[in-house]
């Protein structure tokens, strides 16, 4: 085989290998986080809530199982709900995880699912950002930058 043919052969081979590798990566969950925010609050409010949209564009379910932030002593997953007495309550999410089914978006929002920032260490000032690392069952650690702002109305 001529040198040129051989070079072409290598090139095509490499391209094929890369494409196959990319195809492999498309299997499984694919998490996208958008509109991540937290409400402004003073240091005296020792618990804060983070909200966001979590979208799974992949082909497998995944689940949010926890998180970490330098701004919080502990990060937990909670949800607000209405009790049988008509009162509002809050509880840790069942099973300790929020499932993000394949092809769906789960919204963490006021009055519902939220990420709780316990033992908040700082003022949350409007216009600043908070670093948060989310732990997913399959997708592993995903870093998120949260915007501290008032709720959109």
């Amino acid at each position: 085989m001529t040198r040129r043919a051989f070079a072409l052969f290598l090139l095509v081979g490499a391209w094929l290998a890369l494409t196959l590798a990319a195809c492999q990566k498309a299997q499984g969950p694919n998490i996208e986080i958008s509109d991540a925010w937290g409400r402004p609050s003073p240091k005296v409010a020792t618990a804060g809530a983070f909200y966001m949209k979590i979208r799974n564009t992949g082909s497998e379910d995944d689940a949010l199982i926890g998180g970490e932030s330098p701004a919080c002593g502990t990060v937990e997953l909670h949800e607000s709900f209405k009790t049988p007495e008509g009162a509002m309550g809050m509880r840790p999410v069942e099973g300790g995880k929020i499932v993000i089914p394949a092809g769906e978006t789960v919204e963490l929002k006021m009055g519902g699912l939220h990420i709780m920032c316990i033992d908040k260490k700082v003022d949350f000032k409007p216009g600043t950002t908070v670093q948060l690392t989310l732990h997913f069952e399959k997708s592993g650690d995903i870093p998120v930058e949260l915007e501290i702002r008032q709720p959109m109305k």
Partner: protein, 201 residues
């Protein structure tokens, strides 16, 4: 066109005019429909005296103003800030009339909520907001008088205990009678409209 047709046309126009007039009259003169739940209490709202960071606060201190009572606690990360933010927006919508409205937050967590903590928390939302607390007995008494349910329950080791609580806002009119209840989630626009009506009438 024929005379019958012409007559028919005029009758049609007349009928239309009547409908339009009737609709306008109905809009203009119908009684105001509140967004909140209206209560007709025969008795004045029970007075109470609880502790704020600036000294004792009694409901009767605010006779002549419209008082919004909210039961919550500072450790609550989602429901309470959400509600207080809606009231903050309501105050903004009221403009100058906001001076006629007083929000008092009563803590359902007197163990952790000190008067100073409450003050810092509520004033973060609006400088006029007042936060009060008291002994377990005092809080229980006021909550019962206002039909507010609250219950401590276990959280996680990190959160400590949590308190389920009725998250409504009780509206007391200028004469000191409970007039309205705003359920949790009532938007600021609805609250402002109702309060505007109470201020003007």
């Amino acid at each position: 066109m024929s005379s019958t047709a012409k007559r028919g046309l005029w009758m049609g126009v007349g009928a239309l005019l009547l409908v339009v007039l009737g609709w306008w009259g109905w809009q203009r003169f119908r009684p105001y429909a509140f967004h909140g739940t209206v209560l007709q209490s025969a008795e004045p709202a029970p007075d109470f005296t609880l502790m704020s960071a600036d000294g004792p606060v009694s409901l009767s201190d605010f006779r002549g103003k419209i008082v919004l009572l909210y039961f919550g606690y500072t450790f609550c990360p989602d429901v309470c800030p959400t509600t207080l933010f809606e009231v903050q927006r309501t105050m903004e919508l009221l403009g100058e009339d906001a001076d006629e409205v007083q929000l008092i937050m009563i803590s359902v967590d007197p163990l952790r909520d000190t008067p100073e903590r409450l003050k810092e928390y509520v004033q973060y939302f609006h400088p006029s907001f007042i936060g009060v607390t008291g002994s377990d007995e005092e809080i229980a008494q006021v909550a019962t008088q206002y039909g507010i349910y609250y219950q401590k329950h276990e959280g996680t080791p990190a959160t400590g205990y949590l308190v389920d609580h009725t998250a409504t806002i009780t509206v007391i009119d200028r004469e000191g009678y409970v007039k309205l209840i705003f359920p949790y989630g009532t938007p600021a626009e609805d609250m402002a409209a109702d309060l505007e009506y109470l201020i003007k009438h």
